[in-house]
């Protein structure tokens, strides 16, 4: 029982519930199927990013370049498919963007794993380099006429329902991609030797090396996986918005990292769960959405998100400090 309450997940769940209760008291329409679908739709891309961030944080690193990778993969894949006339299949678009992301991730991995440079410095550098390269050599114009595959993807719905008052609500198929990726990532982290090696590396790098974890190989995997996830997130984002904007996504990375940290991952590495991560994203998305519903200026989002990070990460740390003091 005490263990349950010592977890970040519990705290975030409680805040989430409290927020939903308050919002639904003010706006009775809040607790409804349309709202739920809205939230799921709006949270899809951020959640895919968060899966990658969870992996990096668990391994003891940090990645600031994933949004730049996503924008790069989305824009380059879209533009190439247009030029080559290969845009009929969304599946192809996803694999294409994922592959571009994976390659860019490998560039991060080379600097981090092979050259042993600090992850924050490397990804701060590559974030700027990837975005600069994209804008300088690939293009700066919006592509509003995205390929057919992406357009039909944005119109394909997983569920389509009609509410009693006649409005049609629907959940896009993009959500299914999140479900698949989350399941794969969860299994990877909890059920495979590779996944446990990632946590081991994040918890105690020297020990991991000593007991025979192939540290460099694990790092290559982590950054390649994050790159691929980011590529997929990028193209899904572009498809759902039906526009490929090279200026998009970059700038979002700190919010995503914040959501993952809120869910229990630690910047010092070795901690974080899939469930907590998704909860963290859910909380941020719910807040952003309900503030709009309640008519509160969107600048308040930042204030609230900031306070939540302070509370969500500060409270467990404070409790741990109290516990050690009591134990003496």
């Amino acid at each position: 029982m005490t263990r349950l309450f010592a977890r970040n997940e519990t705290l975030v769940t409680l805040i989430l519930i409290a927020f939903c209760v308050v919002t639904s008291l003010i706006d009775p329409n809040f607790l409804s199927l349309p709202t739920l679908f809205d939230l799921l739709r709006n949270g899809t891309v951020m959640s895919i990013f968060a899966l990658g961030v969870l992996l990096v944080l668990a391994s003891g690193g940090i990645d600031l370049s994933f949004t730049a990778i996503a924008a790069f993969a989305m824009y380059v894949a879209t533009k190439a498919m247009m030029m080559l006339g290969l845009g009929d299949s969304m599946m192809f678009a996803i694999l294409f963007a994922g592959a571009i992301g994976l390659l860019l991730g490998l560039i991060n991995a080379f600097f981090i794993g092979t050259l042993k440079l600090p992850t924050m410095i490397v990804t701060l550098g590559t974030m700027n380099a990837f975005q600069g390269f994209l804008l300088t050599f690939v293009g700066t114009t919006l592509i509003t006429q995205v390929p057919l595959g992406m357009r039909s993807f944005s119109r394909t719905m997983l569920v389509r329902l009609e509410t009693p008052d006649g409005t049609i609500v629907s959940l896009p198929v993009a959500f299914l991609i999140l479900v698949v990726l989350a399941t794969v990532t969860g299994l990877l982290l909890n059920r495979t030797t590779l996944g446990r090696s990632i946590y081991a590396l994040g918890g105690a790098p020297e020990s991991a090396e000593r007991v025979g974890v192939r540290v460099v190989a694990v790092q290559y995997f982590v950054y390649a996986y994050v790159g691929a996830l980011s590529g997929v997130a990028g193209i899904v984002h572009g498809a759902m918005a039906r526009v490929a904007n090279p200026f998009d996504l970059v700038g979002l990375e700190l919010s995503v990292i914040a959501a993952v940290v809120l869910g229990g991952a630690r910047l010092s590495g070795g901690h974080g769960t899939l469930f907590g991560t998704l909860l963290g994203v859910a909380l941020i998305v719910v807040i952003n959405n309900s503030l709009i519903t309640l008519g509160i200026p969107s600048t308040w989002q930042n204030v609230l998100t900031g306070l939540l990070i302070l509370v969500g990460t500060g409270l467990p740390a404070f409790r741990a400090k109290l516990a050690t003091q009591r134990a003496g």
Binding site: T192, R196, S197, A200, A204, E206, R210, V211, G270, G328
Partner: protein
């Protein structure tokens, strides 16, 4: 019947950058034998263990494990041959559970791709049963005591079919009670036919457990024989290469004026009703088991976790000590037990570490007087005989005993009237230990009041004029240092 030989090292030599770390050292360990590798810091113990583990390659000499020669022993080969080393930091994963820590190596080396959690727990439970200790399988290792972390590390080693477990200074962070539990575990391992290489410089433990003693000094083997052929004096002679003089305190001498008095001091559940007085020139010992409140009392005196009941009087005047700053202003100094995490700035230079608490006195109008800083550093490096070629080197380049001197120097530079030393010789070798006791005696003779907190009973007895025994947060006995022996004190500790 001679025991079967498990490990045989012949004529091992190893140099680092021209410095001889090991010079023609041979070592044999029989099956189920408990061998002690003794020696001061820097004598080559760690190098020899690393060679045995395949981490370092010797320049010359041969290695035989279980009858097989290993001309180029690789770490993986060493593990396969049954060699397990438990390093001082245990190489555990603080963020993972006990079960996973124990089973992780086996999981890796079996090359299984997937984790079966039921199997992990089963394996871990089995390994802990072999050690004979119960630890919560689901606890995170970061929440365990040092002793339990050690148990986890031993259990993990056993899972790798260990035939020889080498333990590097396994008792340096354990309390008296935990040391006994560890020695029991080692005896149990022996019964199962597992050999143990016990690396230590604590003489009493060596005699309590070891069958054979090998002593290294400056990279050479200077003694090798059954434990019964050694006694305390001969062993320390071999380790040091010189005789340790006995530094009995000049007891019974008149002490000076009263410096510090506690009147029914207490804090929360940690300790209560602690009263005593400390005089100039006196060394007061406070001992007790972990959790007896000894460390909490020291933290309260120094304002780290201020007391909430009772009074503190300095020179007869009641004072409030609510923070370390106030304590320092009142002339108190505190050397914490864990100098690595609480006391020293490891990557910083020796000089900076000494000068850091005196910066206010060494500056005028907020600007540091470099020459005076230099003078202060040189003065204390000389007075406390810190062995370093250069005070600009980082503190982490020093051995444990010398690091402890740096912490001492820092406080002495402020000329405190009362100095509180918590575990002053934890992780320090025999030679340095005697010298630190010497320094304590010298300081007291110069009129300082000193409080030594320790669960190292021989140390308390050697260094202190008066001893307070704490139990469950209260002082249960006060004795003069020359009227008790170790057995009596040990019995009082356990209650």
């Amino acid at each position: 019947m001679t025991p079967q030989t498990e490990v045989c090292l012949e004529g091992i030599s190893k140099s680092f950058a021209g410095v001889r770390a090991l010079d023609n050292v041979s070592l044999t360990i029989g099956k189920g034998e408990i061998v002690c590798l003794a020696g001061e810091n820097g004598s080559g113990k760690s190098t020899l263990v690393k060679i045995l583990a395949g981490v370092l390659r010797p320049d010359s000499g041969s290695i035989e494990i279980g009858g097989h020669p290993y001309p180029h022993l690789h770490p993986i080969e060493a593990v396969r041959a049954g060699i397990q080393v438990i390093y001082q930091d245990f190489s555990l994963f603080p963020n993972l559970t006990v079960a996973e820590n124990i089973a992780f190596n086996e999981q890796l080396s079996s090359r299984r791709k997937f984790v079966r959690w039921r199997k992990v727990r089963e394996v871990a439970r089995g390994a802990l049963a072999k050690v004979g200790v119960n630890v919560d399988l689901d606890a995170r290792v970061e929440d365990l005591t040092v002793a339990n972390k050690q148990v986890v590390a031993i259990a993990r080693a056993l899972l790798q079919d260990a035939k020889l477990i080498a333990m590097d200074e396994p008792t340096s962070a354990l309390t008296e009670h935990e040391v006994h539990a560890l020695l029991d575990i080692i005896r149990r391992l022996k019964r199962d036919g597992i050999s143990v290489l016990f690396i230590s410089h604590k003489l009493r433990e060596i005699f309590a457990i070891c069958e054979k003693i090998v002593v290294l000094r400056n990279g050479r083997k200077v003694a090798d024989g059954p434990a019964r052929e050694f006694d305390l004096a001969s062993l320390s002679l071999h380790m040091l290469g010189r005789r340790l003089e006995s530094h009995a305190r000049n007891r019974g001498q008149e002490h000076g004026e009263e410096l510090l008095r506690l009147d029914r001091l207490g804090r929360g559940q940690q300790f209560a009703d602690v009263s005593f007085a400390l005089h100039a020139g006196e060394v007061l010992g406070i001992t007790g088991l972990l959790g007896s409140g000894r460390t909490e009392l020291a933290s309260a005196l120094f304002g780290l976790t201020p007391a909430d009941r009772g009074r503190i009087l300095l020179g007869g005047q009641p004072v409030r000590i609510g923070s370390p700053r106030e304590a320092i202003a009142h002339g108190l100094g505190y050397v914490p037990s864990d100098r690595l995490t609480e006391g020293l700035f490891l990557p910083q230079s020796i000089g900076n570490n000494i000068a850091v608490s005196s910066l206010d006195e060494l500056s005028s109008n907020g600007v540091l007087d470099k020459a005076r800083v230099r003078g202060l550093i040189d003065e204390w490096v000389r007075q406390l005989q810190v062995r370093t070629p250069n005070a600009n080197l980082p503190v982490q380049s020093l051995s444990g005993g010398n690091q402890q001197r740096v912490v001492l120097a820092r406080w002495l530079a402020r000329a405190p009237r009362v100095l509180i030393l918590n575990g002053p010789t934890v992780g320090v070798d025999v030679g340095s230990k005697a010298e630190i006791h010497d320094i304590i005696a010298r300081l007291a003779n110069a009129g300082m009041g000193i409080i030594v907190i320790s669960d190292d009973l021989p140390e308390i007895l050697a260094a202190c004029d008066r001893i307070l025994v704490m139990q469950a947060g209260r002082v249960v006995e006060e004795v003069a240092g020359d009227t008790v022996d170790e057995d009596h004190l040990a019995a009082r500790l356990a209650g």
